[in-house]
């Protein structure tokens, strides 16, 4: 996966990206701080995809779907609720 694809996923999941040396992103739901993730700045290959996926609490298929489209914001939230990360 390329870094810009990872950033596109963050935008799709409505994460807030804080400026800094790395793209530090936070996810809020119903005004609650739920999770955080990072995508290194720059372009090119994203080597830490597995760690990124873990931070977003996604499995490999979900990440693939998120990259290609069918897995959107609603599915992301539903997944977090199902796994108990959102009360």
């Amino acid at each position: 996966m390329k870094k810009r694809r990872a950033l596109a996923i963050l935008e799709k999941f409505k994460l807030k990206i804080r400026p800094g040396k790395e793209n530090f992103a936070t996810f809020y739901y119903n005004d609650k701080f739920i999770l955080t993730t990072t995508v290194p700045k720059g372009q090119g290959d994203f080597y830490s995809v597995d760690k990124f996926r873990n931070q977003l609490r996604l499995d490999e298929n979900q990440l693939r779907d998120a990259e290609r489209c069918p897995f959107g914001y609603n599915e992301f939230v539903a997944n977090l609720i199902k796994k108990g990360y959102i009360n």
């Binding site: 800094g20 530090f24 739920i34 999770l35 955080t36 990072t38 830490s48 760690k51 931070q55």
Partner: protein, 180 residues
């Protein structure tokens, strides 16, 4: 067939005598008599074939042993290289005792994990699910320190509206990360 293969091995010499000389084959003395009986011719041919065949087997076996030897050396060299690579990729635990910050310090050392993926280094702090990348080991460590500080500051700032996981992380980090 055998003669042909030996010839091939000797550099396609068309002269049988060259083969005999090079491979030390005792060429049976042929009777000069043109009326040599057929049985003797057959015996002579059979003897030459046998000698060539033995030589071919020896030649082939020697070449095979040499090849196996060089392959074994190559395998040993590659195994060492792979082990080194695997060690790097498997990563290592590092004890981090400082956050490289003027504002925060670590009250007690923490364990981070470092691995190399292709050309970059990745550090992970599994206790709070953070990671950072860097072009070199020090870069990756420093970026992770920044991540920990950033995360801690967000947790502090949002302390009244934390979800279940960030709340646990905040409880944990409060014990470790202190302000100077």
């Amino acid at each position: 067939m055998i003669r042909h293969r030996v010839k091939e091995a000797l550099g396609r010499s068309n002269n049988n005598d060259d083969i005999f000389k090079a491979w030390n084959i005792h060429k049976p003395i042929m009777p000069a008599n043109k009326e040599m009986d057929e049985r003797k011719v057959e015996e002579t041919d059979a003897e030459i074939s046998k000698q060539i065949s033995n030589l071919y087997i020896t030649f082939d076996a020697t070449r095979l042993v040499n090849k196996i030897g060089s392959l074994e050396k190559e395998i040993a060299r590659l195994t060492k290289l792979l082990q080194k690579k695997a060690q790097l990729e498997m990563g290592k635990n590092i004890v981090l005792s400082d956050l490289r910050s003027y504002k925060y310090y670590l009250d007690k050392p923490i364990y981070i994990y470092m691995e190399k993926v292709r050309t970059i280094y990745i550090t992970s702090y599994y206790d709070v699910n953070l990671y950072a990348e860097g072009d070199c080991e020090e870069d990756a460590i420093e970026n992770l320190c920044k991540q920990i500080i950033d995360y801690f500051e967000i947790l502090k700032q949002e302390s009244d509206k934390l979800g279940p996981v960030p709340a646990k992380h905040f409880m944990y980090l409060k014990q470790i990360v202190k302000e100077r």
